[in-house]
């Protein structure tokens, strides 16, 4: 009975999560432009999609932006967390904590308009640079949360014992801290990539006409109306995401064995 409730509930939630996506994928193969009923199988929408050059450049821009911002944000977060972990409370960490707390409480839209005001006054042209700065900035708190929640479960004595037993600081770092932390760093990276890849709100304010990114491109499409090409685009994105996540998953399995 207990097993039944458990499995029933888990499946229920997964069905809720996946049903809209599956319906969307089905419609991307539907041979009708406006109708929601089934008119036969077609891959026509994918053909049209692959000829859309704006889309390709937006996709590549988004990937670059997500990868760059996530790498730098998780590197920053890793350094900060390790530093706070090895050192006792200092004044600078208070500054850091209050700044991060403020950034988390601050709504996305407020950070977006603040950066817009800043870029405007600092004469930084809206485009790749402004997006890159903005994405790193809003990713940092999330990366720190992920790594911090992991590092707080570790015992700092492990590191100090390694030092006492004659390990160099570098060796203690690469052989003690890193093996324990790298899944958290990876998940911070993945979270940041997702946040960056998915962000509409902040990007909406700080992007320029020369550098289009996927979420804003999609937003403009959605506002113009629903098209089967959009369904096809979503299906491809999901396919790519699944490949990436599965890859990351296999990688993490390999490392832990």
């Amino acid at each position: 009975m207990k097993q039944l409730i458990k499995h029933g509930y888990l499946s229920f939630v997964f069905v809720l999560l996946y049903l809209p996506i599956l319906v969307l994928i089905a419609y991307s193969f539907n041979d009708a432009h406006f109708s929601l009923s089934w008119h036969g199988f077609t891959i026509n929408w994918y053909h049209i999609l692959f000829q859309d050059e704006d889309l390709w450049s937006a996709l590549i821009n988004s990937m670059l932006l997500g990868f760059g911002a996530a790498s730098i944000a998780s590197l920053f977060a890793f350094i900060v967390c390790v530093h706070l972990f090895l050192q006792s409370q200092t004044k600078s960490s208070n500054f850091l904590h209050s700044t991060l707390l403020m950034m988390i409480i601050l709504p996305d839209i407020v950070l977006g308009i603040s950066l817009l005001v800043f870029f405007n006054l600092a004469h930084i042209k809206l485009g790749f640079t402004s997006l890159f700065i903005a994405h790193i900035t809003f990713c940092i708190p999330f990366a720190i949360i992920v790594i911090q929640s992991r590092i707080s479960t570790l015992n700092v004595d492990t590191y100090h014992s390694a030092i006492d037993l004659g390990a160099s600081k570098l060796r203690a770092m690469t052989h003690i801290i890193l093996p324990m932390l790298w899944p958290a760093v990876l998940s911070a990276f993945l979270l940041c990539f997702t946040l960056s890849f998915d962000d509409v709100i902040i990007s909406y304010f700080v992007s320029g006409p020369d550098f289009n990114i996927l979420p804003l491109y999609i937003f403009s499409l959605v506002r113009m109306g629903v098209t089967p090409e959009l369904n096809a685009l979503c299906s491809i994105t999901i396919g790519l995401s699944m490949l990436l996540v599965l890859g990351a998953h296999m990688l993490s399995k390999k490392e832990t064995i």
Partner: protein, 273 residues
């Protein structure tokens, strides 16, 4: 050691330059005026804040708060047992993977995917009609129900991930120990399990409630033209009306409201612990 300090100061400078200064500039802008030639200009004025206290804005604000609260409640109610079952399951990592996958796809497209489910002749109405639960289709789309569904659907993983991370660390022997010592199931849950998952709940609630207030595109897509929330208002003031100081004032006001909310929310938690 020296290198690490150097890297650390780079982060401080980064946060100072690209988070603190922009926010300070926005606060300053909210006290300034706009003119036809300049977006932000002197003189100093309080009029941006005075014009906030209109019945229309109050209505928009209360609506946004209400929708965000309901969204957070449903996310927590769905995600808490879900995370628990997930931690207890044998296929934990696989399930985590399937939580992360929709999270990786654009929330915009997922919002748009809900239209096919919620529309008048959509999947939900068809299913309910076939099951003879309703006799005629219900209007789901362009209602608060649609907006809340969209928000819960988009933000659900943000609630699951912190809860799961937290529950994964929970030592389940504590439950056995409590039961052996004569605690009832209810007592074990309220006195052992719930308190130890508080940090997870807190960060989950923060990660859901805050975006729920300002995800302006979800009400735009699922709520129709009439449902203006606080996020849409700020967006309009900045990019349509071009009144930056007024937009800045609205943003600062929103932040202030959220801050009050956070302080109220955090108090009962910190007292108990």
């Amino acid at each position: 050691m020296k290198n690490r300090s150097l890297a650390l100061s780079a982060i401080y400078i980064w946060l100072f330059a690209f988070a603190l200064i922009p926010i300070a500039l926005t606060v300053a802008a909210s006290f300034l005026s706009s003119s036809t030639s300049e977006l932000i200009t002197l003189p100093f004025t309080l009029s941006n804040y005075q014009s906030l206290f209109s019945p229309l804005l109050l209505h928009i604000l209360l609506r946004s708060l209400g929708l965000a609260l309901v969204t957070t409640f449903f996310c927590l109610a769905l995600a808490y047992p879900f995370s628990y079952f997930m931690v207890k399951s044998k296929h934990q990592s696989l399930m985590l993977l399937f939580i992360i996958i929709p999270f990786w796809t654009s929330s915009l497209i997922r919002t748009y995917a809900l239209i096919a489910i919620l529309k008048f002749n959509g999947l939900l109405n068809t299913a309910l009609l076939k099951l003879h639960i309703i006799s005629s289709p219900i209007t789901f789309l362009y209602t608060n129900f649609a907006v809340i569904s969209g928000l819960v659907y988009t933000l659900f993983p943000f609630m699951v991930l912190p809860l799961f991370t937290n529950m994964e660390r929970f030592d389940f022997r504590l439950i056995e120990a409590a039961r052996d010592l004569g605690a009832s199931r209810r007592q074990t849950f309220w006195r052992i399990f719930l308190p130890s998952t508080k940090p997870g709940i807190l960060s989950g609630v923060m990660m859901v409630f805050l975006p729920a207030m300002t995800l302006f595109y979800i009400p735009q897509i699922l709520g129709g033209a009439r449902s203006i929330l606080i996020g849409n208002l700020i967006q309009n003031q900045f990019l349509v009306a071009g009144d930056w100081p007024q937009g800045a004032a609205t943003s600062i006001f929103l932040t202030f409201i959220l801050l009050i909310f956070m302080v109220m929310y955090r108090k009962p938690w910190s007292k108990q612990s």
